[in-house]
Symmetry: C2
Subunit: 458 residues, 2 copies
């Protein structure tokens, strides 16, 4: 039986059988307590035994980390801290645990150390909470889009187009590099590579996503994405998951509606379904986490033009490290100020075209594009989106200006010639969201097996 069930239904005075791992074991001369978890919920189950158990000696020797099966009766606990405990009647040692098990009850291993034993860390309270929330948030995302009749699209990960500047690309090959190194030649012949051309890992699925939005009206992607940037920050990973919805017959205002609605849905879902985990994180990782999330669900999201944000920043009585300027990007300090100024999440929209991507819809002013970034208090930029340029000519000219191959991307351009209607979409990095949801501040701690420059273990 799952321990989760014991906390949800009434099993007092009933005979039950549970399996799990020993988190803690306190033994006295004539009795003992075992805290057992089985991963089906955050709670541990207390198991009590005494010297009337025929295997008392054997039980007393059980080590932390061991896997056991226990039969017994669930009884009311005398300890006011817990409602019930399991009185052990029979037990089986399913898997013993060696003494060098790194997760002993005493001592609190650092997160850095836990990354080195990433295969064991989900057994700790912190990571048990984090990775359950990761799972719940992923489910919330699928739920949200399914309820709203979006089609889930798996865009390709191996691709010959490089996402047009979205980031640096990992190359994928089956060529024998040692052989290449041994023979001096001028240039690699990619017709001999697996796909007959040079290919790499996708930095976005948006362009392919657009083609499906123009067939299903509303689609989303949710899959891995790769960036080969050599940056070692707390918020960058080389491999991460991204959600990229795309809606036909939708403009920038409609785009923001979806961004806001989706985010509130996910946060509410996690609040409702990860109560124990969030309480733990609220107590030990980020004080005020639950209140922060509840406020988001009930907040109004401001919508304001980039130029008006610059005006506010310029008028602010602040000694900026990076002075704000019209036509320029904004810095982290500005993001922070602006969410505090509006006391809630802020959509900054209509950005200068020169600092945004080629596919964004040019506004009538000829200077800005219909792009939007969502700034969230305590998270910074959580999502970015735009209405896409639906005019073939404008898109073609912009690609020429930026030296983007109109040949290789002919399908993307053609989409504008074949019923290419107004459409919009956005992208959200899943791990950014998880950092926000859990209060854990390093992206390496919200990915089961993180990949960063120089790190590819397990």
């Amino acid at each position: 039986m799952d321990i989760k069930k014991i906390f949800e239904e009434d099993y007092i005075n009933k005979e039950i059988k549970v399996q799990g791992w020993i988190k803690n074991h306190r033994k006295q001369a004539h009795f003992g307590f075992i805290d057992m978890f089985d991963g089906t919920c955050f709670n541990t189950l207390q198991i009590v035994y005494d010297d009337e158990n025929k295997n008392f000696d054997e039980i007393s020797k059980l080590k932390i980390g061991s896997a056991i099966e226990v039969k017994g009766t669930l009884v009311k606990s005398l300890n006011p801290k817990q409602e019930f405990e399991l009185k052990l009647e029979e037990f089986t040692l399913e898997g013993s645990c060696d003494d060098d098990y790194p997760l002993q009850a005493k001592g609190r291993p650092t997160r850095e150390f836990l990354r080195e034993i990433a295969y064991l860390r989900p057994r700790t309270n912190l990571f048990q909470a984090v990775f359950r929330i990761r799972s719940l948030a992923a489910y919330a995302i699928h739920n949200y889009f399914n309820q709203n009749n979006y089609v889930y699209v798996h865009t390709p990960l191996i691709t010959a187009n490089d996402g047009e500047g979205a980031g640096q690309v990992f190359q994928v090959t089956t060529l024998d590099l040692d052989k290449i190194a041994q023979n001096k030649i001028e240039k690699i012949d990619y017709t001999k590579d697996f796909f007959g051309k040079k290919v790499g890992l996708a930095v976005t699925g948006q362009l392919e996503g657009e083609t499906y939005a123009l067939a299903y009206k509303r689609i989303y992607t949710f899959g891995p994405t790769f960036r080969a940037e050599n940056s070692n920050t707390k918020t960058h990973a080389s491999e991460f998951w991204m959600i990229e919805p795309e809606m036909a017959f939708c403009d920038l205002e409609g785009d923001m509606d979806v961004m806001e609605d989706m985010l509130k849905y996910i946060v509410k879902y996690v609040l409702d379904n990860a109560k124990t985990e969030l309480e733990f994180l609220n107590n030990f990782v980020e004080k005020g986490l639950i209140e922060k999330l509840e406020r988001l669900v009930n907040s109004n999201f401001t919508r304001i033009d980039h130029k008006d944000v610059i005006t506010i920043l310029k008028e602010a009585n602040v000694n900026w490290e990076f002075p704000p300027e019209y036509g320029q990007d904004i810095a982290k300090e500005h993001e922070k100020y602006i969410t505090e100024y509006f006391n809630g999440p802020v959509f900054i929209k209509n950005w200068p075209k020169d600092i945004k991507a080629f596919y964004m819809k040019l506004n009538e002013d000829g200077e800005t594009v219909a792009a939007v970034d969502l700034e969230v208090p305590g998270a910074g930029e959580l999502m970015g989106g735009s209405q896409r340029e639906e005019s073939y000519d404008k898109l073609y000219n912009r690609m020429k200006e930026l030296n983007i191959s109109t040949n290789e991307m002919d399908w993307y351009l053609n989409l504008r010639r074949f019923g290419g209607c107004k459409h919009a979409g956005f992208g959200m990095g899943f791990e950014r969201l998880l950092i926000y949801l859990t209060g854990v501040d390093n992206i390496r701690d919200v990915i089961p097996y993180p990949r960063t420059p120089g790190n590819c273990d397990f």
Copy 2:
């Protein structure tokens, strides 16, 4: 408004506004009919107009493929084939369509041709059905595991371990290959590569999945997987999605319980939620498709040992191309025979150890492992699973026998030292399932942008 809604609720005599693409357009001198789809459901909506519309000439000229917005009143149709139609009152051309649009109403493009225009093919009936079913089946999978309290785990795609023989690996690198080619050296120095070592794309997430199963009791993965085999068959792709559940405190019998239960759930979900799509596929792609799926949901899955299968095959009065033999793998012709023999799905279990993977649990006979393949009528092998070897010593010895590095895989071995209980899991190729669910026989036609040797377009 979504066209889907019009088919679900009563809008007769109501004013509505819809947006979508023109699938067909039949025009007469004084009136015309437009079939419009918007991708929210499989059905098209018939729009009628006549020369009392002030834009009659303009409407008459609307081309197939164009995106339009139409306002009008939904009225009962005189055509007995359909319940209602939309009487056009106002319209807007959202996006016109050039004459070289390849999806004209006349002519039936081949599937090979449609692969070349993969960015447009979801607008055809066939692919509209296939890729909605892909989305629904994916959702059913997440639903199934969420309802049963599995944790969804994202295992890494870039990895330094090669899955131990599960398949050939794509290499991932940021080294400049042209530069390497120009300087003659003996061996590549991978300390200079992005991750400081040689890495490739994952062929399985199982090994990492096991580590999470031993923390959450039940987990599943659902993500992309890569194989660099140079094989051009109808069932092989270089990039595909896979589901890999893993359960702690679970043996081979429990494993089969989950395989059967999950498959029935997914098939039933698709039967319930893709009625129109399945009817179309049943009529035009695979006669008897719906009956096949319904039978599966109601069938009993046989469980039989590999050696008993061989006995049945040997005793069969069949002139085999590949004569069956104890200790050997079975061929496609055998799979087919055995599902016909039992008139339903068959779990073939307890396979000869030498033809199965190193991590499978050795049975007491010392000759077979606790592995299972599920054979499904009309699909062949749909899933494969096993109980995993939980004994450190047996696993260690098997790895040594097979020359698998026990150093690099120490974490996988250690899992057996630290509360390493009995556990089992399986893998299902998502596209194999989709071929079965849709009746489409080529894997290239169930993946939005398929990657196969020599093919990496879009």
